[in-house]
Structures are given as structure tokens and as C-alpha cells.
Assembly symmetry: C2
Homo-oligomer: 193 residues x 2
């Protein structure tokens, strides 16, 4: 029997994710992916199948490692109002620290759905819907505990918060400066104050 496996597949996906994230799907060439991952051309096709399949792998990894990880941390706080507040603080901090202006991989992809198939569409939609669901759940629990005003409609406010989140990610890519992003985050907190 020969090798079981050789190069670190997960590490390669991580590197490929950085390439797709930074350049976008179309603009990222196979040559870029080979250079970025350090994996050879043949091995890359053997392991992942092709460009589109590799992209899906990287998008799933981003969703798992970033979005799901953040939501899990915030849920663990068991303090809905604080969780929402920290969410916005963290997104603004990430955006400000992102000197390359790469933004959010999921949001970027949502603006590029025409270049992909239904699978990618489903991943993006599911991710954003789950963030919205987190907001709604947090508002409802916060209201039940008396931490959040009860005259707010959870479903509607959740959509507004998701909108502000998306906008921070979009406008953070070159249109708005740090101050403006902090202002938006502050307004988001004010809505549920």
C-alpha cells in the first residue's frame, strides 16, 4: 500500500480561501491558487476536482470557521443584548483591521452569485438567514428578560440589524472610514437600546 494522504488538505483549503477571498472567484486564476496553496497543479485537481469545487470547499470553511464560530461564542454569553452589541463591535473591529479591504467572504459572494451555481447560492442564503435568526432569537430572549424594549418587532428589527451588518461589510471596503463604521454600529445598538 502507498500513501494514505500527503499534503495537508485543510491547510490548502485555508490558503485557497485567502486567494478567493482576496481576488474573487473569476479573478483568482489556477496559477494564483497553485502559488497560494503551494499544492501542485495535478494534486490540486486530484484532491478537489476543479476550481468551482475548490471554491465551494473554501466557502464552507469560511462559513464554519468564521460565521458559525462567532455565533457560537456570542450565544455562549447568554446575554442577548450584550451579544448583539459585541457582534457589531467585532465586525467593525475586523473591518477596520482589514487593511486589504477584503470584506466578508460571504457578503462578497452574495454579490457574485451569477458566477456560481445553486449550491453556492444556498450556502450564502443559509448563512445570512442564520445570522438573522440569531438576531431575532436574541431580541426575543432579551425582551423576555426585560433587557430589550418590548415594543420592538423581533422579526423586523432582526432584518434591520442584518442589513446594518451587511452594509458595514460593504461600505467598509473603501467607501467608509473607521469613524463612520463605528457610527453605524452605535446606531445599531441604539435601535435595541
Amino acid at each position: 500500500m502507498p500513501w494514505e494522504k500527503s499534503f495537508d488538505e485543510e491547510a490548502a483549503v485555508e490558503k485557497a480561501m485567502q486567494v478567493f477571498w482576496g481576488k474573487g472567484f473569476e479573478a483568482a486564476s489556477i496559477a494564483d491558487l497553485i502559488e497560494g496553496t503551494g499544492v501542485n497543479r495535478g494534486s490540486l485537481y486530484n484532491a478537489f476536482g476543479g476550481k468551482q469545487a475548490l471554491f465551494v470547499r473554501t466557502l464552507l470553511k469560511y462559513d464554519h470557521d468564521t460565521r458559525q464560530a462567532i455565533l457560537a461564542q456570542l450565544e455562549a454569553l447568554d446575554d442577548p443584548k450584550l451579544a448583539i452589541s459585541q457582534f457589531f463591535d467585532r465586525i467593525v473591529a475586523d473591518t477596520v483591521a482589514d487593511t486589504e479591504h477584503k470584506g466578508c467572504f460571504l457578503v462578497n459572494t452574495s454579490l457574485d452569485l451569477s458566477a456560481h451555481d445553486a449550491e453556492v447560492n444556498a450556502i450564502v442564503v443559509k448563512a445570512l438567514r442564520e445570522i438573522e435568526a440569531f438576531f431575532r432569537r436574541s431580541i426575543e430572549v432579551g425582551q423576555a428578560r426585560g433587557d430589550i424594549r418590548k415594543d420592538l418587532e423581533p422579526a423586523a428589527v432582526a432584518k434591520t440589524l442584518l442589513s446594518l451588518l451587511v452594509a458595514i461589510r460593504v461600505l467598509g471596503r473603501g467607501v467608509y472610514t473607521e469613524d463612520a463604521l463605528h457610527t453605524i454600529a452605535a446606531e445599531a445598538k441604539r435601535i435595541i437600546a
Copy 2:
């Protein structure tokens, strides 16, 4: 003396705009632009210089014909609160009517700034800043006339409204359905109620 000009340059820019708007800058090939405009290859390069230059022309046309036109109409209402309300209604209506999910050309471009130069960046930034300025001005005038609550901070709320506008355009491209977009617009109006 020969011809002064032949084909309708403005009409060609309009057609090219549709191509860039629908497919994005990178994905729109010269062949697409030739087919879309009906203008021959040589004439196209002779009249516009190249792909990037033509893109700038189309972006400027979109900004002028769409964004500037809408803002001018709304300003003419001379009713700040109504103007903001109508703005959101119109954007939602446009987004819902956009069955191809093309979204807003300016917003799409703002997510693709890495593919362009400083000139494109400046166009996008100026456009979005002027929308924000319209919001701020409307809020201030509305407050002065007693139509809008005076405890709102115009500059901050203007950024929030622009954020919601951008989010409607982004999420309208496949993530959110008509109902959700209307909900966001309603929340925007509620903020300045």
C-alpha cells in the same frame, strides 16, 4: 469633409452599461460589448479607447441618469420626510422589478473596487456620499419644519439610512424576497417617524 459622427455614441454607452451592469466588469468580454452595443470592434476602440475607459463612461452615465435623477426628483418634492419615504419605496420597487437580480450598478462596483483604478473608486465614493448628504439634509430640514423628531442625530441617522439602502440593494440580489425588502424599508421609515 467626411462624416461628423455616425453611430449614436450615447446609445452605445447605454447598451454597454447594461452589459457591464448585468455581468460585471471582468465577466463582460469585448465580444459581449460588441454584441450588446451593435458597435463594431474597431469603432468601439476608436470611440472609447478600451474596456476600462468604456466602463467609466457607463458608470458615469448610470450615476447621472439614475442616482442624480432620483435625488433631483426627491429634492423637488420639498417635503423631506416624504422624500426619504419615497426613496425607499422606489428602491424596493426597482429591486423587486429587477427579475435578473442585477442590483445597483454603483453598489455592485463598490464591491469590485480592486478591479479598478482610483477614478472608479472616486465615482462610487462620491455617489454614495451624496446620497448620505441628501439624507442628512432632509433630516435637518424635516426637523426644522417639525416633521421629524428632533432627538435624532442627522449625521448618524443619515449613515444608517444609507446603510439600509445599500443592504436592500445587496440582499435584494437573491438573498431576500419582496416581503423582507418591504420590511427593511418600513423600518427605515420608522427610524425617522
